[in-house]
Symmetry: C2
Subunit: 148 residues, 2 copies
Amino acid sequence: MTDPLSKRRLKTWIRLLGVTRSAENHLREFLRVNHDTTLPRFDVMAALWRRRDGVTMSELSRMLLVSNGNATAVVDRLEKDGLAKRTQSATDRRTVYVALTEEGLRVFEGQAADHEGEVNALFGKLSEADLDALTEILRRAAEKGETT
Amino acid sequence: MTDPLSKRRLKTWIRLLGVTRSAENHLREFLRVNHDTTLPRFDVMAALWRRRDGVTMSELSRMLLVSNGNATAVVDRLEKDGLAKRTQSATDRRTVYVALTEEGLRVFEGQAADHEGEVNALFGKLSEADLDALTEILRRAAEKGETT
DNA sequence: GCTGGAAATTTCAAGCTTGAAATAAAATCG
DNA sequence: CGATTTTATTTCAAGCTTGAAATTTCCAGC
């Protein structure tokens, strides 16, 4: 039988997508204008910053929810610009660790502070209660289980 | 002065992005496997279906929150596959209307029913109250005003 | 120690996406 | 009217992204 909430879930998903895209577009423009960088580069650098002691390419693509090939391409470009570097694992010759360079670290930290400010402004209308509620709903949404 | 909620807003935004990407990845795979199509094509067709009496290229890209060049490229491919067609405006020779063809309409309606079912399953854990709350929070988030 | 399968990464083609520049047509206004 | 500006679309280069295939290395079981 058809779920009576089906249409509402679809509509809400479309709204969610709209808000997310809109915020992404805003942040993309912000990073481009103020830091001459792109969202994918920023995302990769953020992941590398969060795991400063080293990440493998696979972990990186899992963290960012993108394909392996994608991670390879973005890291290639960051490496070419001297912002990231690869290191072969000593114990497993298939594995490659990626990390920010000194410069990458410095550059990212400058971007990150600004980026946080922009996100804060973008979602300035959300109160603490909103954030709590949203977090809880997102947690439940991520369960992707059956209809209640 | 620094906003005490700033870090929480950032964290919530990252979660929101994670849930959205995860759902998009799932739906992309679903459309690929079951309907041999892609998310961007589906999105464009959905917009054309919603506005069956015709949309201009500009309206289309605004609806989807993508660049003009992007809309052009996707519509080009849909047109090549006989799923969409362009028509010159009679009154303004700059303007182009896009619409689904008969086949496009038929194909989309098949995909859409399935897609809705998949979204419903994906967010099956969200109750009606959750959907109400989420919609309200998203509405507020979209206001992008100052901190309260 | 072999051998077959699993895992980590890269490569590649095709499609997606942006932002800027180019084209063309319409609107504004002196 | 004619010049300027605005609007609609396309084109293009560069970067992003996927999914599949290729490579290399490790691991499990014989």
